[in-house]
């Protein structure tokens, strides 16, 4: 398959906000964005899926808690377990944790404020399907914006994630939300499901983002698809 032909789904839940941005990032990376609707049991045969940021169902209960039960998520959970590349950004990360596709959970920021800032990160895994275009330990800057972005998990889980190299990015300089061990993003054991709190889709154009560092996540999955690494 050629990367040009790659079709990447972007899910819209009621309350999704960064779905347009995610679709733009997919397009700028060279793939075709495909809109997926929360209420459909239909993945439209896409090659990968992005769960975008936002406040699905208002996120009044717990971020991602209700979205996890959406019809489209049943399909995504099944497909992810078969190896479909899935990227969860911010609310998408929360949904992946709530769905138990990724371990741990995200809680209210330790300083209890919503925070929007240009965040320096270190990429600490370049083998997952969504991070292979980065250099190991490469430093990037992408926007971060969340109110409930504190990554928490038990010590066992944290040790396991670190031991297996499954922390994909860490916060540098400032830990903006009290995440345990400065964790900004993680992957599953297979490397196809990645979740992170910062927003790479907001760093894809010099005009509107602090950098274009975010593109790497989207080009990575295209490289992965091209190399047949996915599925």
């Amino acid at each position: 398959m050629s990367a040009q032909g790659a079709r990447i789904g972007v899910v819209t839940f009621p309350g999704s906000l960064d779905d347009r941005d995610a679709a733009r990032a997919v397009r700028l990376a060279g793939a075709e964005p495909v809109a997926l609707w929360h209420a459909d049991h239909d993945l439209k045969a896409v090659d990968a899926v992005v769960l975008p940021g936002g406040f699905s169902y208002g996120d009044y209960l717990r971020c991602g808690a209700i979205a996890r039960f959406a019809p489209v998520m049943q399909e995504i959970i099944a497909a992810a377990n078969q190896g479909l590349p899935v990227l969860g950004i911010c609310n998408g990360f929360q949904i992946l944790c709530e769905s138990h596709l990724l371990p741990g959970a995200l809680i209210r920021n330790d300083h209890r404020h919503f925070v929007c800032r240009d965040q320096r990160l270190q990429i600490t895994n370049n083998t997952s399907l969504w991070t292979r275009d980065f250099e190991l330990n490469e430093e990037i800057v992408v926007p971060l914006k969340n109110g409930e972005g504190g990554y928490v998990a038990s010590d066992n889980v944290l040790d396991e994630l670190e031991g297996e190299g499954r922390v994909i990015a860490r916060y540098l300089e400032v830990n903006p939300n009290g995440s345990y061990r400065d964790i900004a993003g993680i992957t599953n054991a297979r490397g196809n499901v990645v979740g992170l709190m910062p927003h790479p889709e907001h760093a894809v154009e010099p005009l509107t983002g602090p950098t274009t560092d975010g593109l790497g996540f989207f080009t990575s999955v295209l490289s992965s698809l091209l190399q047949g690494a996915a599925r």
Partner: protein
């Protein structure tokens, strides 16, 4: 040691978007007959020693002004001496 539990609930006439979101989800998950859901907060406060009258009064003041927002919320306070 005393354990003080403060339940904070939105006044019944105030819109509770959170409760409504949960109510919607309960229906979609197949729990029928739900007529109303309200979401509140609960604070569990552990205090060394016994609570005297002054401390209890202070607690009520705190519950009514800090832990709850009297404009939109009511609170209930209960003490378990242990």
């Amino acid at each position: 040691m005393a354990r003080v539990v403060v339940d904070v609930r939105l006044k019944s006439e105030i819109l509770d978007p959170q409760g409504r979101a949960v109510q919607g989800a309960l229906g979609r998950l197949g729990l029928n007959g739900v007529t109303n859901v309200r979401q509140g907060k609960q604070f569990v406060i552990d205090i060394d020693g016994e609570l005297d009258a002054a401390a209890t009064e202070k607690l009520h003041e705190i519950a009514g002004n800090l832990l709850s927002n009297p404009v939109i919320e009511d609170y209930e306070l209960s003490v378990e001496q242990a």
